[in-house]
């Protein structure tokens, strides 16, 4: 755990340097006709004239005070901008992930129970499709059909439940596809174990055997995969937020990079790193909850 903390710290500092290399923000924020003098003043104002190590020192000390600087674009503290954008992304991620886990368990367990049966085939097709479909294409196609064609769903924007339908459907494909395979595999392994035979001999109902006896034993690999997918969500959500116009972290990130808003980019990276770190701790706790053998080592 200590190691992963240092990893993420290393990453943040790495990004600091990288971001500085994307060019001079003055070019973007000042009109082209601005004089050299104006540029100098701009740079001085934002501390960009100082040698890079001095800038880094300033960044580090500010970080220690949890001050991530001000956004160049909006003139507000960067941390505020980031924390405003995060809930949107988190909500979308949470809803999608919960749905993905529930659906994949339902279908995956049944597929494991009746291998080569209809559910198994459906599961295989869905998972292959989910892993292969480019999410932006699915998004645009669905928009064509349901928004433009049938006028059933909005093309973009946030709001009531109806605005969630398409983004969630697009975002859920990949995690569902991966999870279904993992669930099926893990449950099949569990079902082959001797304790399932004991449970049958006890007269337990089939549903209980699947969802109580087998599933709990299968849960570790499922949780591991779900955890990895959740972190990777930020990738997919960049595209979904961009297409559907959701003001989340992904969209913020693209904008900030294109606009060379250093402070915001750094802030996003720092907050994301912290989030990932905390998330991993939560996953470890869940492990211990699920498997007593880990608990009582």
């Amino acid at each position: 755990m200590v190691e992963s903390f240092f990893s993420l710290v290393g990453l943040v500092f790495l990004v600091f340097f990288l971001v500085r290399m994307t060019g001079n923000p003055a070019d973007l924020y000042l009109p082209e006709s601005a004089s050299q003098q104006t540029r100098m003043e701009f740079n001085q104002l934002h501390g960009l004239n100082d040698p890079i190590l001095v800038q880094f020192g300033r960044f580090a000390s500010q970080l220690a005070r949890l001050d991530l600087g001000d956004s160049m674009r909006e003139g507000r503290p960067a941390i505020d901008i980031v924390t405003e954008a995060y809930p949107t992304s988190l909500k979308l991620a949470a809803v999608t992930m919960i749905l993905a886990v529930l659906l994949s368990i339902l279908i995956g367990v049944w597929a494991a129970y009746r291998p080569a049966g209809p559910f198994d085939r459906v599961a295989t097709i869905l998972s292959l499709g989910g892993a292969s479909a480019p999410n932006f294409w699915v998004a645009l196609t669905l928009i064509s059909i349901f928004s433009v064609g049938f006028r059933l769903l909005p093309t973009s924007g946030t709001g009531g439940p109806i605005y969630w339908v398409l983004p969630v459907v697009v975002l859920i494909l990949q995690p569902f596809g991966v999870l279904v395979v993992v669930v099926r595999q893990a449950v099949m392994t569990a079902l082959d174990s001797p304790y399932i035979r004991t449970a049958r001999a006890k007269g337990a109902r089939e549903a209980s055997i699947l969802f109580v006896h087998a599933l709990r034993n299968a849960s570790l690999p499922i949780v591991t995969t779900a955890g990895t997918l959740a972190i990777g969500f930020i990738n997919g959500s960049v595209i979904v937020e961009s297409i559907f116009g959701w003001p989340g972290v992904g969209k913020l990130m693209i904008h900030s990079i294109l606009m060379r808003d250093f402070a915001v980019v750094q802030a996003v990276v720092v907050v994301t790193a912290v989030a990932i770190f905390s998330f991993n701790i939560v996953i470890d706790l869940i492990y211990a909850l699920l498997d007593p053998r880990i608990r009582y080592r």
Binding site: P194, Y195, R197, R205, R216, P292
Partner: protein, 340 residues
């Protein structure tokens, strides 16, 4: 048919089919178990002793397994064609099973108490307090110290002997009429073995339940069983009371088994194993399965599968050569096919 016959099995066959292959794990066995008695099934690995009881308990995956029998009755009820839902009420409740390796057979992620009390949750309507009370009682009945504490412990936290006791507690929770114990002591030390077998005996005496004991260990059988069946290559070779079979073993296989044990009074002498190895169950030849390894065999043994010959009341042997052997010069010529 006796009124105190608890279980009766006739012509049970279990095959495993995959592709073109057909493995005959159990090849037409019949036996019965009376109330309160301990019936031991003895045989080496691959003899079909475990598979036959798994088939009975519906624990075999049905394709690839194919189970056939002319009769399986439990206290008068037909088990063979009993619908799944009805069977679920019998399994664990009236007929219960204890498995060999308790660490593997117990679910690692649930506490021992949870698994035992699951029996009540499945088959009885009781409130939680009552269930907990009964579970604690069971744990102490099987000789587990500090039962209240053990309730919340997990299988990996208990010792081998404790785990086996816990499994037994689970199996007898609902006071079944018949308990099947599949090699209950094989994975344990000798001293623990004795304790577990003693426990089973006590439980049997106390509740009057019948016990089917599956084992390869003749010593365990001698101490605990009333009657015994010797299985080889999916068939029963000899069956009868303990006294009959162990004192006057008749089938060449039984003789071989008894002779091959290390015995104190023959110390210093070389061991006498049975030559050869068990047959490939996918290609069982006609005739007696033991033929290739038998010292008393003749041509008839290769042609015809022997049926049970009653050499003395209740003592059946499936062998052609009895008549030609001096031990039973006065054996009757009857061939009653199945002991009843």
């Amino acid at each position: 048919m006796n009124e105190d016959t608890v279980l009766e099995i006739k012509d049970l066959t279990v095959e495993f089919r995959s592709g073109n292959e057909c493995v005959k794990a159990v090849n037409g066995i019949s036996y019965c178990v009376k109330a309160g008695e301990t019936f031991a099934i003895v045989g080496e690995s691959g003899s079909g002793k475990t598979v036959s009881t798994m088939a009975l308990m519906r624990l075999l995956p049905v394709p690839p397994a194919v189970i056939k029998a002319s009769q399986i009755t439990f206290k008068g009820q037909d088990l063979l064609n009993m619908p799944r839902n009805d069977w679920r009420h019998v399994s664990g409740n009236k007929i219960s099973m204890v498995f060999q390796d308790a660490l593997a057979a117990l679910n690692p992620v649930y506490s021992v108490g949870w698994q035992i009390s699951e029996m009540f949750r499945i088959h009885r309507r009781l409130d939680r307090a009552e269930i907990e009370r009964r579970t604690v009682d069971l744990l102490s009945k099987v000789g587990i110290p500090e039962p209240r504490q053990r309730l919340h412990e997990y299988p990996h936290q208990l010792s081998g002997g404790m785990r086996q006791r816990a499994m037994i507690a689970m199996a007898i929770a609902l006071k079944p009429d018949l308990l099947i114990a599949d090699e209950p002591t094989t994975a344990l030390d000798v001293t623990i073995q004795a304790q577990i077998m003693g426990l089973l005996k006590d439980l049997r005496d106390e509740t009057g339940m019948s016990l089917i004991l599956i084992t390869h260990d003749l010593g365990v059988v001698a101490e605990t069983a009333d009657r015994v069946a010797i299985m080889y290559a999916g068939r029963i070779m000899e069956t009868g009371s303990i006294r009959d079979v162990l004192n006057t073993p008749t089938h060449p296989y039984t003789l071989g088994l008894l002779n091959s044990r290390p015995q104190a009074h023959r110390r210093g002498e070389p061991l006498q194993p049975i030559c050869g190895s068990p047959p490939n169950l996918a290609h069982i030849p006609s005739g007696c399965a033991f033929f290739p390894r038998c010292q008393h065999a003749d041509a008839l043994c290769r042609e015809m599968t022997p049926t049970g010959v009653e050499v003395s009341p209740g003592h059946f042997v499936a062998c052609h050569s009895i008549k030609t052997r001096t031990q039973f010069a006065a054996a009757k010529q009857n061939s009653s096919p199945v002991p009843v």
